[in-house]
């Protein structure tokens, strides 16, 4: 009997995870509902929209709506990824696959990496297909292909990786649903904070702050430290959306959110591997 090689073992565990997920009825229903929902939104692309008394041309409408859909799908995929991840370890434990896999010559880190990879591929495919539907609708409406839309979708997959690693780690420490809500909380707090930051950087908000009193002595406050250190999920989406030809996200460079989220993935991944190493298998 040979000692299984590292990467084929990881790939197999990832493949089994992917197959187990797509076999779930709940997953199939969730995917079908999302795909139909995204497809039905195509009706909005043909409406007449008026801004400041002027009708917008079809191209502007389609581009603006596709960008909105891009963000909605990106955020929705984060929720789906957290939902899928939170139950991965519990299901394997309950169905005996934990002990089955780990009684083979497979290291625990290979198992965990295989699981992460499997859920990540499922989630990325989920998001990519939904983005693909918007891409096709947009392309048919504009009679012009926008391949950058798909590239932006792939860039958003970094967010999914963060959510998966965080949900897997937290599901080892607390009940699944609490882990899911915590990850959701991190995402929502980041989105809200980035939204507030975007508004506060607007010209109107700056003018209001100037009128309300003198500026604080120091620019560096704890809130700012927390704000910049917080996982920049919306920042990654904004950076990805900037590929679609919109304006760059104000306040920080397009690369910072990517580095921020990737660093979180690495740190949380290391903690997850360490935590799982000490887990009792039953």
């Amino acid at each position: 009997m040979k000692y299984p090689k590292t990467f084929p073992s990881i790939a197999r565990i990832a493949r089994y995870t992917l197959l187990d997920e797509v076999r779930q009825k709940s997953f199939v229903i969730m995917f079908a509902v999302c795909a139909i929902g995204v497809f039905l939104v195509r009706g909005c692309y043909h409406g007449n929209y008026m801004v400041n008394g002027q009708y917008l041309d079809a191209g502007t409408v389609v581009r603006a709506l596709s960008k909105v859909m891009f963000h909605i799908i990106g955020a929705g995929a984060l929720v789906i990824a957290a939902l899928l991840s939170m139950r991965i370890f519990r299901r394997d434990r309950n169905e005996g696959m934990h002990s089955c896999i780990l009684s083979k010559p497979i290291a625990r880190w290979q198992y965990v990496v295989g699981k992460i990879l499997g859920v990540w591929v499922v989630s990325v495919l989920f998001m990519f297909i939904l983005h693909g539907i918007v891409f096709l609708v947009t392309s048919f409406s504009l009679r012009d292909f926008m391949p950058e839309f798909l590239a932006a979708s792939l860039l958003c997959s970094i967010n999914l990786l963060f959510v998966i690693v965080a949900a897997l780690l937290l599901s080892l420490l607390m009940p699944d649903i609490v882990a899911f809500l915590c990850v959701l909380g991190v995402g929502v707090a980041g989105f809200v904070a980035d939204g507030i930051a975007a508004v506060s950087h607007s010209q109107m908000a700056q003018a209001m702050m100037r009128q309300s009193g003198p500026a604080p002595h120091s620019d560096l406050t704890w809130w700012k430290v927390v704000y910049y250190a917080w996982p920049k999920l919306l920042g990654v989406q904004q950076s990805a959306a900037s590929l679609l030809g919109s304006e760059p996200f104000p306040g920080f460079g397009a690369l910072y959110p990517l580095i921020n989220v990737l660093l979180y993935c690495l740190v949380l991944g290391a903690v997850l591997l360490r935590r799982f190493r000490n887990e009792d298998i039953s």
Binding site: K2, P4, R12, G96, S103, P105, I281
Partner: protein, 234 residues
Amino acid sequence: MIELKTVTKRYGSLTAVDTVSFSVGAGECFALLGPNGAGKTTIVKMLLDFTQPTAGSLSIRGIPSTDPACRASIGYLAENHRIPPSLSGWHYLLRCAELLDMSRSDAVDQCGRIVELIGMQGREHARAGTYSKGMIQRFGLGAALLGDPKLLILDEPTSGLDPIGVRETRLLLESLKEQGMTVFLNSHLLSEVEKLCDTAAIINRGALLVKDAIRAIVRDGDTLEDVFVRLVKD
């Protein structure tokens, strides 16, 4: 083949295994006996690195149990074996074979032979959700035999099996023993152990009471059950 050196496992204030040392030689058919909660499954879990000992060390074929390489020659059947209900027994076996790095064609060949060996022809493509406990146990035993392991670790292998299944399992294990396979058996069925095993260890409350050849443990006129009850009650 297996060596435990002063192994201790504590869960908080509870000592599940208390400085246990013994070894099992290659080709030996060994039974680990003890009442419920004696620490048998904890020892098995430590052998497979499912849980780490608080003190001491375990090794299989000279390789520390913490090294995944030591599990390359082990077939394992868990107590209360489970199969994902969405998988068929066939796909479960295929997965187990592939995880041992077999090619698809080798895996299909081996799984075909194993299905015959465990007497599950005709039911292998049904979903595991429709299997009885005994059928799941048979597939579990089949999965443990994949890849021609040198060592079989079986935790209550006859649990859930009917008397015919118990007998068939014993006959199968006897034939494996004749082929030179080392068997580490965790069982409550003392009569089956007495028929099958060469050596046994009895543990109680985590402590090793005796480890010897069954012939040496069971004196004239006694049965293994008599000795077991006497030792555990003392």
